[in-house]
């Protein structure tokens, strides 16, 4: 039996949560595309340690995981969806944008929505595809008005990240943050806005656009 089949068997045979985690790590470490279906299955297991290992494994495999991940988004299992969204965000493939946009606006689970919103800030054009920034900004703008503080918070984090990707987008992101600040009722959310705006303004004067991670 080939190595990968043995590794998959170890996952099926695992009797304790710890055994499962170990087996998933072993499969993830080989970074083999054939592991994708099994790693995807693990995302839906009720074992956060295993799911996280599987998620990192899929991210390490990279772009070839994206189609399988996108297919998972109809899953009823909100835990699996949350890890799927995070994996798509970390891989950063622009093909995932429509899914992230839809998820941000319509998913039932706040944790999935937050991951999707944050993910919108991470998608980058490494493969020189055209990214629909207007669509992303429009969604983030609407998220800034959500009733749930954690959704508004996630939108700010995404705008903060997007603003560091390009000057053109930064202006738009700053404008959105500035205009929302005045009627943001929550103290903590406002503080995150201020932190984002302060770092954006700091960057405006900095030729090399170094990311600022703390003030």
């Amino acid at each position: 039996m080939r190595n990968i089949e043995l590794l998959v068997q170890e996952i099926d045979k695992a009797c304790t949560p710890a055994q499962l985690i170990q087996a998933v790590h072993a499969l993830a470490d080989i970074r083999n595309e054939e592991a994708i279906p099994t790693l995807i299955k693990v995302l839906g297991y009720n074992n956060p340690g295993a799911a996280i290992a599987a998620m990192h494994g899929l991210v390490a495999i990279g772009r070839s995981s994206v189609n399988s991940l996108m297919a998972l988004m109809d899953d009823y299992n909100y835990g699996a969806r949350a890890y799927t969204v995070r994996a798509l965000a970390m891989i950063g493939d622009p093909r995932a944008i429509p899914i992230l946009l839809n998820c941000a606006e319509t998913d039932f689970s706040p944790s999935v929505r937050r991951a999707a919103i944050k993910g919108l800030g991470k998608i980058h054009g490494e493969w020189a595809e055209i990214i629909d920034y207007p669509a992303i900004l429009a969604t983030l703008q609407s998220m800034l008005k959500d009733h749930d503080w954690s959704i508004r918070y996630a939108a700010i984090v995404a705008l903060d990240a997007i603003g560091k990707l390009s000057h053109v987008i930064a202006d738009r992101a700053i404008a959105l943050l500035e205009s929302s600040k005045t009627h943001e009722p929550d103290l903590a959310v406002r503080a995150r806005m201020e932190m984002a705006l302060f770092s954006e303004n700091y960057d405006q004067y900095d030729q090399e656009r170094q990311p600022v991670s703390c003030i």
Partner: protein, 270 residues
């Protein structure tokens, strides 16, 4: 019977209907209305709920008062200090869950500035519930009582609270730690909650996270971020820290920097 009154589901319930349902001949409609009015934060329902909290018609087979329980819970959500005296009376109810709901409601009302002062009169009645002969029994809703006394900063009864730090039930020990932190501001009580973040039982870890958020213990940031629970509990706990300390940042750059670190921890949990 009118169609709407025979369907207790939320979509068709209006404020006026819910308030009038509190006196419906159908006891299940009363119960549902009492819950709904709190969930929907219907402030004009306070007076009607103050009547419902004395209801004697809705009883369980074991002698409980379900409508009173829901009325107390909703009065807590509405946060109106005028409910304090009725909630204090409810602390004498023979139904454990009514006493528990009333204690929790007092704590909630006291968590708002205007309620905090009005609720101080509840300290003594709450403390009386702690003085059973054997504090190790479970006849009182100790968690709720201890948390309320902590919120009220009831230093006068510190000696009654302290023994509960050694209670056999973990959750009650955590409530005592949270309460003692509220009374004394001493880190060693908050540290008991931080220790509980490593408890083998995920339910205890979640309770500890909630408590740390409620007391806003700044030093717990990293421990919270790395706790083995769902991210949402950790996010809310960290937000509690922000809510507690942000009002004080104006003349304190070091505090601001610490809170920015908390926000970066929150970012990673999204």
């Amino acid at each position: 019977m009118h169609d709407q009154q025979s369907n207790p589901k939320g979509n068709e319930l209006t404020i006026a209907l819910a308030i009038s349902n509190l006196r419906s001949p159908d006891l299940s409609l009363r119960y549902y209305a009492a819950w709904w009015l709190g969930k929907m934060r219907v402030h004009e329902a306070v007076d009607a709920l103050l009547v419902a909290i004395e209801d004697s018609e809705d009883r369980t087979e074991l002698g409980g008062y379900p409508l009173r329980r829901n009325a107390a819970r909703s009065l807590g959500k509405l946060g109106n200090p005028k409910a304090i005296s009725a909630l204090i009376s409810a602390l004498s109810c023979e139904d454990f869950y009514v006493r528990e709901a009333a204690s929790q409601a007092i704590e909630e009302i006291a968590s708002h500035a205007q309620g905090y002062i009005a609720a101080q009169v509840a300290v003594s009645p709450l403390a009386k519930l702690l003085t059973s002969q054997d504090y190790l029994d479970l006849n009182q809703p100790y968690e709720a009582i201890l948390e309320a006394l902590g919120r009220l900063k009831a230093k006068s009864v510190k000696d009654l609270i302290e023994p509960f730090l050694n209670h056999s039930v973990v959750r009650i020990r955590l409530a005592a730690a949270r309460s003692m932190y509220g009374l004394t501001g001493s880190d060693r009580f908050a540290d008991l909650l931080v220790e509980a973040l490593a408890n083998a039982d995920i339910n205890i870890r979640r309770v500890a996270l909630t408590d740390l958020g409620e007391i806003g213990y700044l030093a717990a940031g990293q421990a919270i971020a790395h706790a083995q629970t769902e991210n949402s509990f950790k996010l809310f706990a960290l937000k509690g820290i922000l809510d507690t300390h942000l009002p004080n940042v104006n003349h304190d750059p070091e505090l601001l920097e610490n809170l920015q670190q908390v926000m970066l921890l929150m970012d990673d949990l999204l």
